[in-house]
């Protein structure tokens, strides 16, 4: 009897699974200029379940800034030229080819012919021109707008014919076609009306009807259940095929489960409820790795990411009388010898070991070993040395009292507070280790964990802090991604915000070099300039660089063609090529 009940139950569940299956891929039409994937030929079917810590805030590719939203939207949208996350090089996407004019000021892009949006309507140059119009509209407030503005003037898209678009720039742009990566091409036939009515920002919210979310990516929206999950199904008109002429993607569906936090994400992955995991902390890696075999998943350590963590001091020009305590201490912080001594005293190897369980790299500059194309390998990596640090402090006028406490020339004891985000245990550990290291120099350093928003507020707005441990990076490997940090007028120039002109000669030099690399088209020349940038940063220490965590990802053994990369999104960037090895062994729905 019980067996019968189980059978019926299985039949119902199986039936439900069958009923919910995605649309079959459309037959390939004549004249459809498909891209042929070089990945292994797979088989159709299955639902890939992924745990997400937070819900996406929007489905609007133009305005999305949060990680979960980008991860979901990236599967539904496509760009003209795409950066291959593994090779870090560009490759054709919606554009079949592109050509840069001799003066470096205009791109002519040829579009693939015969492509269709996820609703079956044709794609043409009008959609490209419309998309750039939206991205560059000041009222839309797209975070990409800055990147698409070169030399103060936005890039201009001109339709040449139905399958050719020309992009004009006010001056040559070194990152060249990389500029097109992640600029989603929007369907003019769906969005033009909303855009012209001025309500584009309200379009494509999470509550939008699935039919209204139209794109050129491998998947399209099927269902969104607030607080639970978001389901994508196969886009039957997707423009890639495998070597045997099967239209991609192989997967029927991708389900994003909203699980709340990292612990829940890990538990669901370990129990087999989700098939892919990324962005988990290195501390969890070792305990998960122990169960790899018994639970049937593979974890991959891809080596250092592009994220760099650092300690920095408040070097802002503070209003007189407002933060008199901090102003007094800034005399130390502004002294390069002081910062050098701090850098020399920090035990970076211990940071990597204790904060990242050994899965990370100690760094001395803003480019991590994960960025193979741009790192300056000549940069010095001074060994940790307390005696050398003490010598430096002495030469800067510091001395030690009877009790071994460090005092400055005015006999004021060196004491300050490092703030950091309380939710990031790794950075909290870094700060605690630094405090302990600096105690060996006789400094009295306190660590105050604050809620992340409070940290951001103090650093960017009120400037009410002495020192802070933060992390940046992770986006593109190209130097341009970091311009806003290193340009003296950059929006993330956090050690000294709101500089009207470069505060120091080396910051002026940085501005000059960064502007120069922006228009240098030759990679080697540009690399030489950027090497100098890195050297200037490393020797002037606006940031005291600490460590970069490894990119860690995992997938169940059934997931094939899984090729994680050290650029975001680490695991799902090639979702169109993923497939399940054995049909029917898909993860639970």
């Amino acid at each position: 009897m019980r067996k019968l009940a189980l059978l019926i139950f299985a039949a119902i569940v199986g039936g439900a699974a069958y009923a919910s299956s995605a649309p079959a891929p459309e037959r390939i039409q004549k004249g459809e200029e498909l891209q042929i994937s070089s990945a292994d030929v797979g088989q159709y079917g299955g639902t890939l379940v992924v745990g997400q810590r937070a819900e996406p805030k929007t489905l609007n590719p133009v305005t999305a800034t949060d990680g979960p939203a980008r991860e979901v939207i990236g599967r539904m949208m496509a760009d003209l030229v795409h950066i291959n996350r593994v090779t870090q090089q560009t490759e054709p996407a919606l554009a079949s080819s592109w050509k840069l004019s001799k003066d470096g000021r205009s791109f002519t892009v040829k579009l693939r012919r015969g492509l269709r949006f996820s609703d079956g309507r044709p794609f043409s140059a009008d959609d490209v021109v419309f998309s750039f119009r939206v991205y560059l509209d000041e009222k839309v407030l797209s975070p990409n707008r800055d990147l698409l503005t070169i030399g103060g003037k936005p890039i201009v898209a001109v339709k040449i014919d139905d399958h050719t678009v020309r992009f004009d720039m006010s001056r040559p742009y070194a990152a060249a076609e990389r500029i097109f990566d992640s600029v989603a091409i929007l369907p003019e036939h769906v969005l033009l009306k909303t855009y012209e009515q001025g309500s584009f920002n309200q379009a494509l919210t999470l509550n939008a009807a699935p039919e209204a979310v139209v794109g050129l990516g491998p998947f399209r929206l099927k269902q969104y259940v607030p607080g639970q999950r978001l389901v994508l199904e196969r886009n039957p008109y997707y423009w890639k095929a495998d070597r045997n002429g099967n239209r991609l993607p192989y997967l029927d569906e991708i389900t994003f489960l909203f699980v709340g936090n990292e612990d829940a994400q890990i538990l669901r992955f370990q129990s087999g409820e989700t098939s892919v995991i990324s962005r988990f902390s290195p501390e969890n890696y070792s305990s998960m790795a122990r169960e790899q075999q018994s639970r049937g998943y593979d974890l991959v350590d891809l080596g250092p990411s592009l994220e760099y963590n650092f300690l920095f001091f408040n070097l802002n020009e503070l209003p007189p009388n407002k933060f008199s305590q901090i102003s007094q201490e800034q005399v130390w912080f502004r002294d390069l010898k002081f910062r050098e001594a701090v850098s020399l005293a920090i035990d970076r190897q211990s940071i990597v070991k204790l904060a990242y369980g050994g899965r990370g790299a100690a760094i001395w500059g803003n480019v991590t070993p994960g960025n193979k194309l741009w790192i300056n390998r000549e940069l010095r990596h001074p060994e940790r040395s307390i005696p050398q640090a003490k010598e430096l402090l002495m030469s800067a006028g510091f001395s030690w009292g009877q009790d071994g406490k460090l005092v400055d020339a005015k006999k004021k004891p060196v004491e300050f507070t490092i703030i950091t985000s309380s939710s990031n245990t790794q950075r909290l550990k870094m700060a605690t280790i630094i405090a302990d290291d600096l105690a060996q120099l006789g400094m009295n350093v306190h660590v105050v964990p604050l809620e992340f928003r409070a940290v951001v507020d103090r650093v960017f707005q009120s400037n009410d802090y002495e020192a802070c441990v933060l992390g940046l990076g992770g986006g593109d490997a190209d130097p341009n991604g970091d311009m806003n940090v290193w340009m003296s007028n950059g929006s993330t120039h956090i050690w000294n915000m709101h500089e009207s002109k470069p505060a120091t000669p080396w910051e002026a030099k940085l501005d000059e070099l960064l502007n120069q690399q922006l228009v240098t088209m030759d990679y080697k020349k540009r690399k030489r300039i950027y090497d100098e940038v890195q050297a200037i940063i490393a020797s002037n220490l606006p940031f005291i660089f600490l460590a970069s965590p490894d990119v860690l990802v995992g997938a169940t053994k059934q997931v094939a063609n899984f090729r994680p990369a050290s650029l975001e999104p680490y695991a799902l960037w090639n979702a169109d090529e993923l497939y399940f090895r054995q049909q029917g062994v898909t993860a639970a729905k």
């Binding site: 612990d263 703030i419 245990t425 550990k429």
Partner: protein
Amino acid sequence: MLSRRKMFIIVTAFAAAHCGILFAGFFAPYTPATQHREYAYAAPTKLHFVDVAGHVHIRPFVYPSVPVEGDGFQYREDPTSTYPIRLFSRNSDGTHLLSVDAPAHLFLFGTDGYGRDIFSRVLFGGRVSLLAASVATVLSLLIGVVLGGVAGQFGGLSDTLVMRGSELILALPWIYLLLALRASLPLHVDPTKTLILLSVVVGAMGWARPARLIRGVVLSARERPFVAAARGFGASEWYLLRCHVLPQTLGIITTQAVVLIPQFIAAEATLSFLGLGIGEPIPSWGNMLSAFQQFQTVSSYWWMAAPLVALVTVSTTYFVLADALHQAGARINSGRSYA
């Protein structure tokens, strides 16, 4: 009613715990902030009596541990040399009851994520937790006795004010009050100040219950015949309260003290757990437990629960003691009423 033996065990545990905490510097093998970075998350050190060759040692010994190559924080014992436990050895930071020579380590409760000895931190952390709780208890009892005594003895407006005030305090969600209070303070408050602040805040919030109890006792005591007699001889209300009524509340004050201390230990732990208490690197049971917010710590490093065990043990001894005191008090009182 506890048997004599059980009572003995409880009192011994109580005394041992307090002795250990009071003389933490002597009982702890290391200072609480010393980081042994190469031994992060090391499991408790095993004590051996029999070595690999099969020889029995009278004095327990340990093997030095070496990190296992590969993943994470794993260590194995290196049985090539033995290091006996030393008693009363002296080093730069004083005399320690137990210690071993380098390169071996004595981590009786294992180490935390920075390689700090958890046993030492539990002992030193107990100081913070107990001290804050004791100060808070004294403070809340002081306020409770004064307000409860006045309310009971004089009645009228003072009674109404005190009682409504205590209800207000009892109804307030104190944790939010504390969060708000902490947010209004400067970024870094030094540990001594934090400790005082913690005690004062917890104490100031904790007077309501003792005050209500004391008021009850005062209400009944002021009607006793000998108090009435003294009043008949012309004694003032203040005099009666001081010399005749308040001494009657001594029993309840003692019991309350013993009940409040573990409550306040828990309150301190809660605040430190939330990051509102004493900051790193000074240990308290609460801030040590905050590492337990991570699943991976709970699943992989069980010894990090040591402060929790200490917290429960100490609290239990207090509660049992309170129970015994209460019963003893009842016996004395009932004896008196027959006299």
